[in-house]
């Protein structure tokens, strides 16, 4: 993107840097190579229906990962996403089951709940100045606790949802699943927001150097608050998608999702120390993890391998980032005194 344009100028010695910046392309390339291998063992991997199935499932992670990426770019982290997704999913499913709301209103309520939960996180981090990891570790328990309290042992069955609600997850427009379109829209809107608006540039500024941002008069606390709110809103979107995809919802929905979401962001090349990364990267990271899970099943490896492979992928992603960064630094140090 813009990075590519900058990287193109001082060509030669910065080829490593260029690869590092093209994380999205690197991931797509790996997916192609690995996909070719997998399809030799399991030809059904290459089918259109398998592709769209993977993409639909990955969309839920991707939408949440985009919100998480915005927070991580501001140097924060939101560990409570899974609880927000779970709470929104249960609230939406339950209100539909009780016929309390029509589907459109239920979806709107889901997004509203997500936004409010995100604002709670934002308030605790930006206004009360609690470190993001501690604050969201706390709200992770609180949000999940609320979910347990309102859900109890109850489980909303697929039959409890209005006819057609779950069909959204398998519906498509010109062959492209609606979930994928939603993800693309979120990515495009998010990238325009981050790249071309004052708020977006402030997000990067706050993440890369909070002191300098403060000196420049950037309202960093407001920026952090809005970032967490957006993360909550997108968790709300993911929660609604969760209901459409799985239909059967209880109080434990989305437990353990935070790991996959943060992994998608990290694999997508967002710097975990803030200040850089793209939302498209986070979305492609989610797709990447989805393909790994799918390939495992098709190749016939036990699901038990999935966790271990996720772990290795995270370590490889941050490790390769670091190696690239060090090479860049070495090149820079050589040309000028530190």
């Amino acid at each position: 993107m813009a990075e590519a344009a900058v990287g193109a100028r001082p060509a030669r010695r910065n080829w490593l840097m260029a690869i590092g910046r093209q994380r999205e392309l690197t991931l797509v390339a790996i997916m192609f190579v690995a996909g070719a291998g997998v399809s030799m063992i399991a030809p059904q991997f290459l089918s259109v229906s398998n592709f769209s199935q993977v993409a639909v499932l990955a969309s839920i992670t991707a939408v949440a990962a985009i919100g998480e990426a915005i927070v991580i770019i501001t140097r924060g982290i939101d560990l409570s996403v899974e609880a927000m997704i779970g709470l929104v999913a249960y609230a939406v499913a339950r209100s539909l089951e009780l016929h309390a709301l029509d589907p459109v209103a239920a979806v709107a309520m889901g997004l509203g709940i997500g936004l409010v939960l995100g604002m709670v996180n934002g308030f605790v981090v930006a206004v009360l100045k609690v470190p993001a990891i501690v604050a969201t570790l706390g709200t992770l328990s609180i949000f999940r606790g609320i979910d347990y309290v309102i859900a109890g042992p109850h489980q909303v069955p697929l039959a409890g949802l209005p006819a057609g609600f779950s069909d959204v997850s398998i519906a498509d427009v010109f062959g492209i699943p609606i979930f994928v379109l939603v993800t693309v829209v979120v990515v495009v809107v998010g990238m325009v927001l981050l790249r071309s608006t004052r708020f977006g540039r402030q997000v990067y500024a706050v993440g890369s150097n909070p002191e300098a941002a403060a000196i420049l008069g950037i309202p960093s606390r407001l920026v952090v608050f809005v970032a967490f709110s957006l993360c909550g809103l997108l968790a709300g979107v993911a929660g609604v998608m969760w209901v459409m995809e799985f239909g059967t919802i209880n109080g434990t929905a989305a437990t353990g999702m935070t790991l996959a979401i943060v992994a998608a962001v990290v694999v997508g090349g967002v710097n975990t120390l803030g200040g850089s990364g793209t939302l498209a990267g986070a979305a492609i990271g989610a797709l990447f993890l989805g393909f790994i899970a799918n390939a495992l099943i098709l190749v016939g490896l036990s699901q038990f391998w999935l966790q271990a492979i996720y772990g290795v992928v995270i370590l490889v992603a941050i490790g390769s980032d670091q190696i690239i960064r060090r090479n860049v630094q070495r090149a820079n140090t050589r040309s000028g005194a530190r």
């Binding site: 990891i133 992994a263 772990g311």
Partner: protein, 317 residues
């Protein structure tokens, strides 16, 4: 900034603040006990207390080295998975006929190796511990699942289950509490009375300054992660013993509780101490030049002179 490693003033102030906070916690605990006693006649019975304490001990044991890691300014989210891996490995070896006297040391060494992996990636690789241990959180759990799968191993000998389940003869004190107490005393002395503790605080307050003051930052970081991994594996062994069952999902969810315990105990998540670490810690995390258009390279830091602190972490020595 100069001499903060050695001078006792910062440390003394911190200790006093902690003492006050600990008093508050202790009073709250006493209040809870009084409340519990007034709500149920079975609350303040030796049997209930003994069970209550035994059930808390794995998390409490994990939280001890985690406190040191957090004071250091790092975090280890992988402890619960290491406990699960320890449980799975112990069950696997026992089922394969390896005697426990051999299996338990092997499991503890595995914990140390896992900690070494975390520590090396953080200290030598210059990677953020939050993400590294998130990765190993998944990795260790995955290894536990691969080793043991969905089955449980439960035919442990009584002598082993006695370790987690039994009491010190003639009392109601559970054995895990003895382990916890011993570890707490040893680590407390190490943290508050030795150079290791002083250097841990120094690194947590400002890794750059500590390094320039001659502290071997990377070595201490790695050591504490090794300690954390080893003791997490020990907690996994105790958990296996108490439940007299080895399972790959043992310990799931314990990290959050352990971190909460440490923070409730007054440690600052940004390292170094209770007060003031917040402002000092955040900027001393290494920052570097990815995406230069987002970040003026070598931008002057007008508020504090952090720029020199940024470099040591990257080389990690």
């Amino acid at each position: 900034m100069t001499g903060s490693t050695r001078s006792g003033t910062g440390l003394g102030r911190w200790t006093r603040a902690l003492a006050r906070w600990e008093t508050v916690l202790l009073l709250a605990l006493l209040g809870l006990i009084v409340l519990g006693n007034s709500l149920s006649p079975f609350f303040l019975t030796p049997g209930n207390f003994s069970n209550l304490v035994a059930a808390l001990m794995e998390v409490a044991i994990m939280a001890l080295p985690l406190t040191l890691v957090i004071i250091l300014g790092e975090i280890d989210l992988s402890v619960e998975s290491m406990a699960g891996l320890a449980s799975a490995a112990l069950g696997f070896m026992w089922a394969a006929g390896v005697p426990l006297q051999v299996a338990i040391p092997i499991v503890l060494v595995m914990g140390a190796v896992g900690g070494l992996l975390n520590g090396t990636l953080v200290a030598r690789g210059g990677l953020p511990s939050l993400v590294v241990t998130l990765g190993t959180l998944a990795l260790f759990r995955g290894m536990a699942l691969i080793i043991l799968g969905p089955r449980g191993v439960s035919n442990f000998p009584p002598a082993f289950t006695e370790l987690g389940f039994g009491h010190v003869p003639g009392t109601v004190i559970p054995w895990p509490f003895v382990v916890f107490l011993a570890l707490a005393v040893v680590l407390g002395i190490v943290l508050h009375k030795t150079w290791i503790g002083r250097q841990t605080y120094a690194i947590g307050r400002n890794a750059g300054t500590a390094r320039y003051s001659g502290v071997r930052v990377a070595r201490l970081r790695i050591s504490l992660f090794v300690l954390s991994g080893t003791i997490a594996a020990l907690a996994g062994v105790i958990l296996t013993s108490r439940l007299s069952s080895a399972r790959a999902d043992a310990g799931q969810g314990m990290t959050i509780t352990a971190v909460t315990v440490v923070l409730l105990g007054g440690a600052n998540i940004f390292g170094g101490s209770g007060g003031g670490g917040d402002a000092e810690r955040a900027p001393s995390r290494q920052r570097d030049g990815r995406g230069p258009e987002h970040r003026p390279r070598a931008a002057p830091d007008p508020v504090r002179s952090h720029s020199i602190h940024c470099s040591p972490d990257q080389d990690g020595r």
